[in-house]
């Protein structure tokens, strides 16, 4: 008797199930359909919008422009790449771009490590939230405004000059200014991953190191640094690739300096040579692929 009264409402509930419930139940039994529904949109985006655009870039890099009519000639040739490899100017600009990106990454790492360490391990927990907000705040302001703010700071007779002791004493516009402003712009992208990495590092590891006789410097080198290496690499991928692709900051504070981005921009606009711009744009792509391969080889990502 007891079992039958229990059975009846359960049976009634089955009959009363709506179409949504039935669909849920059906999906529950078909794991493959569930997975497809989950991944359809992101996969479409990744394949069509992302990889598709990249493929078009590579293909168009093989085309040329008719010098007379300005029309795109859709005939595959390696002429563009031949020009880039043989012409001194492009090699110099490519090397300069890599140098700027590397310098920005090193400067940001040196500033971000102590800053992130303070945020994650020294500051009181209730202050941490505000420090993260403070790090994120500059990201809310327009990139362009920040670059122009630095133009004012670095102007002849501007605040930076004054700090160095009078008009003309500061670095002025040029390569140095470019590195400085890019390092300023991308610093949050280095601090946040290192902060996240250090927050995962238990305090007891630092205490254990001190307990075993290590001073602060030793603890930092032997315990903190190896644990945050993957975080530094994650941050460096941001700072390096963002610097490598930048062309606006250079125009604003770089003086006559040109980076790969400027050449791409000039070829799209003034020179109206889209295929050559595409060929130039593959240089940073190849450099980043090389960087990622090197990072993977070093084994630093295995600790993640």
């Amino acid at each position: 008797m007891a079992t039958s009264t229990l059975d009846r409402p359960a049976g009634g509930a089955t009959a009363a199930r709506g179409p949504v419930r039935r669909l849920s139940a059906w999906l529950h039994r078909h794991a493959g359909v569930r997975l497809a529904a989950l991944l359809a949109a992101p996969l479409f985006w990744l394949v069509v919008a992302y990889l598709g655009a990249l493929a078009v870039l590579f293909v168009s890099a093989l085309w040329t422009v008719n010098g007379f009519t300005g029309e795109v000639v859709r005939q595959p040739t390696l002429d563009n790449f031949r020009t880039i490899v043989t012409d001194e100017v492009y090699r110099t600009v490519a090397l300069r771009s890599v140098g700027v990106a590397a310098a920005v990454t090193v400067i940001d790492t040196l500033i971000a490590l102590p800053m992130a360490f303070y945020m994650a391990k020294v500051a009181k927990p209730r202050h941490r939230r505000w420090l993260v907000v403070a790090i994120l705040t500059p990201l809310w302001a327009s990139y362009l405004v920040k670059a122009y703010a630095w133009r004012v700071l670095l102007a002849n007779g501007g605040p930076v000059d004054w700090l160095f002791g009078g008009p003309g004493s500061g670095p002025g516009y040029g390569l140095g200014a470019t590195v400085l402003v890019l390092a300023y712009l991308w610093l949050p992208y280095m601090i946040l991953p290192i902060y996240a990495g250090l927050e995962r590092l238990p305090d007891s590891l630092l205490e254990a190191s001190a307990d075993l006789g290590a001073r602060a410097g030793r603890t930092f080198r032997a315990v903190v640094l190896p644990v945050v290496v993957p975080s530094v690499i994650a941050g460096s991928i941001f700072t390096f690739s963002l610097s490598l692709g930048d062309y606006i900051t250079v125009q604003i504070v770089g003086g006559k300096t040109q980076l790969i981005g400027n050449l791409v921009y000039v070829n799209i606009g003034a020179a109206n040579n889209l295929p050559f711009a595409a060929a130039l744009a593959t240089i940073p792509v190849l450099i980043m692929v090389g960087y990622l391969v090197a990072v993977r080889r070093s084994g630093a990502l295995e600790e993640l």
Binding site: L205, L212, A222
Partner: protein
């Protein structure tokens, strides 16, 4: 030791620690002898771990001083103190192998490569981990990590080893095995062990002496037998073992004396045979019977109006036999000297409602 044999390995004088308005440690005075296995026992939040961290140097005391081997180290950094810690979460360096972890303290002290290898191998052998030197901590079980942490702390030969609930994360069987191993290891190396635990059984079975902590103060210090048989306060009686107190009206009626008295459950018998001249007896009714395999626990409501717990070994009885006693009137008897007077402090502290480790 240059300081002489009478100098305590660890001495705490008027030690206090406040976190904001919270007083975690309130005026602790303590001396721990050289070579002693000393336990600090108490519920969570009683200040025992904070005291340990002040001995290690991780927390600066608000007031008072810490002396190691007679030397005042209150203002010294952890790396300047001749003590080492086994952490509750083991705190093994995840990017180093077991051997590198164990060698770390020696490397910091600039011990030569060959000697480093030998001493690390010896330390790993002493905790029976010699085959696993090249593994990463992530590839070890909890018990193995525990032993690596021990080897890492012992390899630098500290005067005092501090252990912060080192067995807390292990399951029961492994914990019991490690208790025996730790005790044997301590006897072997002869180092002073200061052991923090909330497990009264662990403290009783391993220690030479126990300090019971309550609200940042030491309620009682003594050998395990002293703390168990002669609890100094109702809190100690309740936290170490089962709270079995007779007080007020019930004490007057049963014992004919004023005060509060503790009677350990295993000292009471309810076999029904008449009390002898050395015994006190009291009538009651069995309210609850709990069969626990080796023993049975009876909760008895006394006619005089108190409730006592009685533990009996299941020498001949079975669960069915004891269950039949529920609701029956019984006569309890215990040797008169086993009702121990427990001084109630001037400011009565609330008894723990239920001690998690009251029955084992």
């Amino acid at each position: 030791m240059s300081a002489g044999p009478a100098t305590p390995a660890v001495a705490l004088r008027g030690l206090r620690k406040s976190f904001g308005a919270v007083e975690a440690v309130a005026d602790v005075d303590l001396e721990i002898a050289d070579g002693e296995f000393f336990s600090m026992l108490g519920p969570s939040g009683s200040g025992k771990t904070t005291v340990l961290r002040m001995i290690a140097g991780f927390e600066p005391p608000t007031a008072g001083s810490v002396l190691l081997g007679g030397r005042d180290v209150t203002r010294l950094a952890p790396f300047e103190r001749d003590v080492n810690t086994v952490f509750q979460d083991y705190a093994l360096f995840p990017h180093m192998t077991v051997r590198q972890n164990v060698e770390y303290g020696l490397r910091v002290r600039r011990v030569g490569r060959a000697e480093r290898r030998d001493r690390a191998a010896e330390a790993l052998r002493s905790v029976r981990l010699d085959g696993l030197a090249d593994r990463r901590p992530a590839a070890l079980s909890g018990g193995q990590r525990q032993r690596v942490a021990l080897a890492r702390a012992l390899v630098v030969r500290p005067k005092v080893l501090l252990l912060d609930e080192p067995l807390g994360a292990l399951d029961l069987k492994l914990r019991e095995q490690m208790q025996v191993e730790l005790k044997a290891l301590q006897r072997e190396v002869g180092i002073t062990f200061v052991f923090v635990t909330h497990d009264q059984e662990e403290a009783l079975t391993m220690s030479d002496r126990v300090a019971v902590f309550e609200h940042g103060r030491i309620a009682q210090v003594g050998t395990p037998a002293e703390v168990y048989e002669r609890p100094a306060t109702p809190f100690v009686a309740g936290f170490v073992g089962t709270s079995n107190l007779l007080g007020g009206e019930a004490a007057r009626a049963v014992l004919g004396r004023e005060g509060t008295f503790s009677i350990r459950p295993e000292k009471i018998r309810l076999d029904g045979s008449p009390p002898t001249a050395e015994e006190t007896s009291a009538g009651g009714r069995v309210a609850e019977v709990v069969y626990a395999g080796a023993t049975t626990r009876f909760v008895v409501d006394l006619d005089a109006g108190a409730r006592l717990v009685v533990t009996q070994q299941n020498l001949t009885t079975t669960s069915a036999d004891v269950a039949a006693l529920r609701g029956r009137p019984v006569r309890l008897a215990w040797r008169t000297e086993h009702a121990v007077a427990v001084p109630v402090p001037a400011v009565p502290t609330p008894l723990p409602k239920e001690s998690a480790h009251a029955y084992r």
